[in-house]
């Protein structure tokens, strides 16, 4: 087996010329090393983003744990190198390799890639290219690994469907084991037979078995054959969860123990894809969470445990859990942190009971500037809710609140934009010497949400709205800090989010023009994307700035999150009537979305 020994290939000086060489050396605590003779099947978990980002991802840790605990299976990690290293690897002919055994990516049996963000699509090609693997699924011979995709973007993977052999829809804990079993049993069989067997596993989508036809106006006429339904885990307590996770040397984005306390969300915000595709809401019991926390602290030595969920204060035993966990971890000086706070006084109270809290500010997401628009998006907060929450945040000792807003929401009016500034003004008047930090981003309609029919707002119009905000926020002085997203980047994210198969060639063109790490502003170029769309004879606006009709067949029509289209359409209608749909709970308030 070929092994890539970076230090033999690159001189000391060359290694030092690369930014953060520690990204490429591996050898972290708790990584899994299987003996060559024990390996029947090898899986590379290749994350199409930087080490610091991929290493922060919970799904990767879970799959790594599950796969390596299977006998005969070796799972190793691969991340996208920063462009300086990518260039060095090309120049020196260094193939992309795994961090554990330093084996070239192309010699693995399977490459699994998690698609977390549309802007990483060109990085998929970057990884394949650096590995010496042909980019298009059709061009890959039997000697190349099977390329498997997953993650939230697998719910509309059409733009990258030409590069992958299989996608897994939904949660991977059970399905990955079934997939590996099939691959083990069919190791010497032809790729097409293997794919056909894989397509029988629930949640597995093999794009090459599907055909798509189009109307003359570019809309989809039909997708066949049938529908693939996502996988989801019924009981989180019995689902596998790592008791050991790899401890990196570099300070990664989320450098702490991630403890998932629940999956799914009951709130039903109409813009939120996670709130739809991760349904239904499920909780891990506090006993299980505490047991895992104690084991993980022992095995990693981490100084912080973070309780993960889409809305942590919606967890039914949150008070008990936080109290008990803080108590048990106090002696070993381990902090408990709680992201994703709901905007109410209860949440502030919980946050206050944590030791780590005093650091900086608390973060909330009102999302829209007026009560009316918050009803449109089903974020049922009143202005008074916001003032009370922020008031309690300030009186509990925090100096700053961070608030997230979106602009360009469906049905948004100028008064809603002014509403953001009015909220800020009122907050400042209630909290002397306190500050507000605003994060403003452009709304992007996502597949599988009630807003999947909506048009994405044009850049010019978003800029006009920002101009209004500038004129209202700047006079408020230094107590208000704010930043906003890059609308050009948002535009492309939107096109890819609701894109179809024809976009694969666009993505390849952008990659060939040098487009990697497109989620980093310094490497993003709108012109590159515009050119690529034009060269492929595709209209960018068709994918972004176009309101869809009810009957339109979406590129993801054959991929089901379990939530049915009628429910989503009804929610879209309710949003136009500015009507709220209260949170769902099993047994009560069921809206028949179709998941349970």
């Amino acid at each position: 087996m070929e092994v890539v020994d970076l230090e033999k290939i690159l001189s000391r000086q060359e290694m030092l010329s690369i930014s953060k060489p520690a990204r490429y050396i591996g050898r972290e605590w708790n990584m899994s090393m299987k003996k060559e003779e024990d390996v029947e099947i090898s899986v590379a978990l290749a994350f199409p983003d930087l080490y610091e980002i991929g290493m922060s991802h919970l799904g990767l840790k879970i799959l790594y744990h599950i796969l390596n605990s299977l006998p005969g299976v070796r799972a190793e990690r691969v991340f996208a190198p920063w462009p300086d290293m990518g260039k060095m690897m090309k120049e020196k002919n260094i193939p992309l390799y795994s961090l554990e055994s330093k084996i070239p990516l192309r010699s693995f049996d399977v490459v699994g890639m998690s698609l977390q963000h549309e802007l990483n699509y060109t990085n998929v090609l970057y990884l394949l290219d650096l590995a010496g693997i042909p980019l298009w699924s059709e061009e890959r011979g039997e000697e190349f690994p099977l390329i498997l995709g997953g993650g939230p973007c697998a719910f509309n993977p059409e733009p990258v469907s030409s590069f992958f052999d299989v996608f897994l829809l939904g949660e991977g804990e059970e399905a990955i084991v079934e997939i590996v079993e099939v691959l083990k049993a069919m190791k010497s069989e032809k790729r097409d037979n293997v794919l056909s067997e894989l397509s029988k596993i629930e949640g597995c989508y093999v794009p090459r078995f599907y055909s798509v036809s189009y109307h003359p106006d570019g809309k989809i006429k039909s997708i066949s054959p049938g529908v693939v339904r996502k996988r989801w885990i019924k009981d989180l307590d019995s689902a596998p969860y790592p008791q050991k996770i790899i401890v990196p040397y570099l300070n990664i984005v989320h450098d702490r123990i991630p403890l998932e306390i629940s999956r799914g969300c009951t709130r039903g915000c109409r813009f939120c894809q996670a709130g739809m595709i991760y349904r239904p809401h499920r909780e891990r019991s506090p006993e299980k969470v505490i047991e895992l926390a104690e084991k993980l602290v022992k095995s990693t030595g981490y100084e912080e445990v973070s309780l993960l969920s889409l809305s942590s204060t919606d967890y039914s035993a949150i008070e008990y859990l936080v109290r008990e966990l803080s108590f048990r971890l106090k002696e070993s000086k381990v902090n408990v942190s709680l992201p994703s706070l709901r905007m109410d006084a209860f949440s502030v109270g919980i946050a206050q009971s944590l030791q780590e809290v005093r650091r900086s500010g608390l973060t909330f997401a009102p999302e829209a500037g007026s009560e009316r628009l918050r009803r449109v998006i089903n974020k049922g907060l009143t202005d008074e809710d916001i003032f009370q929450t922020v008031g309690k945040t300030f009186s509990s000792g925090w100096r700053e609140v961070k608030l997230y807003f979106m602009i360009g929401l469906p049905g948004e009016r100028e008064e809603d934009i002014r509403g953001i500034a009015n909220l800020v003004k009122e907050i400042l008047s209630r909290g002397k010497k306190r500050g507000v930090h605003l994060g403003i981003s452009a709304f992007i309609p996502k597949s599988h949400t009630p807003f999947q029919w909506a048009k994405e707002e044009e850049i010019e119009s978003l800029e006009e709205k920002m101009a209004i905000l500038h004129s209202l926020l700047r006079p408020l002085g230094h107590r208000v800090r704010y930043n906003w997203s890059d609308f050009e980047v948002n535009l492309i994210e939107g096109a890819l989010s609701r894109g179809d198969r024809r976009i694969s060639s666009v993505i390849e063109r952008v990659y060939r023009k040098g487009g990697v790490m497109n989620n980093w502003r310094e490497f993003f170029s709108l012109q590159r994307w515009q050119e690529a769309f034009e060269e492929e004879g595709l209209n960018l606006n068709f994918y972004t700035h176009r309101e869809r009709e009810r009957e339109e067949i979406f590129p993801w029509e054959h991929l089901s999150s379990g939530v049915n289209k009628d429910f989503l359409w009804k929610e879209y209608q309710l949003s136009q009537e500015e009507k709220i749909t209260p949170p769902c709970r099993e047994g009560e308030n069921c809206y028949n979305c179709g998941v349970c």
């Binding site: 000391r12 000086q13 060489p21 050396i25 022992k298 990693t300 000086k333």
Partner: protein, 190 residues
């Protein structure tokens, strides 16, 4: 509260020469927590084990002699501390020595007199290098060639830093047209 001070000597060999001083301090802090050792933590909202390091080792330089001091709240046999910590790190970071210190013993930076580094070059350089070293006339440094690498003594003199290992590498590279393949911190002179 009682405090028991120890001076710990450990290695930092490849590939760990590519992790920074800050990364290293986090690494030890986590190793202490895994080992469940009775280390004294700093105060504040993000308590960390109180480790005091010597001069930071530059990125890309290996070491057979890294040092830090630590305080424990309970007395341990030095071997116990050594063995427990070695169970929590890779052999390239192996702890070589643990010495108990009296409470008022001077810090690493105050007690050290110098550092000895080795610069490794390719064997082909050996002939050319020996003549060049004579011409360099850097008074305080002793130089000698052992096998295929050059050893440079005393990059520190008393408490004044004469050359950092990186600067030395640049001087040598300028003279010989070749960059050292490895730089290893061999020992600290007390």
């Amino acid at each position: 509260m009682d405090r028991f001070r120890y001076r710990v000597k450990h290695q930092k060999m490849a590939p760990f020469h590519f992790i920074s001083q800050l990364d290293l301090s986090r690494l030890w802090s986590r190793a202490f927590r895994r080992a469940g050792l009775p280390v004294v933590y700093s105060q504040g909202f993000n308590p960390r084990p109180l480790l005091s390091f010597g001069p930071a080792l530059p990125l890309g330089v290996e070491s057979r002699a890294e040092y830090w001091d630590v305080s424990l709240s309970r007395e341990l046999f030095p071997e116990e501390l050594l063995n427990t910590l070695n169970g929590e790190v890779f052999p390239e970071l192996k702890i070589e020595e643990v010495t108990p210190l009296p409470p008022s013993f001077p810090s690493i930076n105050r007690s050290m007199k110098g550092i000895r580094y080795s610069y490794y070059f390719s064997p082909s350089l050996k002939e050319r290098a020996s003549s060049l070293t004579e011409e360099m006339e850097i008074e305080e440094e002793k130089r000698e060639l052992i096998g295929e690498f050059l050893v440079v003594f005393f990059l520190f003199k008393k408490e004044k830093i004469l050359y950092s290992p990186g600067e030395w590498a640049k001087i040598l590279e300028k003279e010989w047209g070749e960059d050292p393949t490895r730089i290893v911190k061999e020992e600290v002179l007390w």
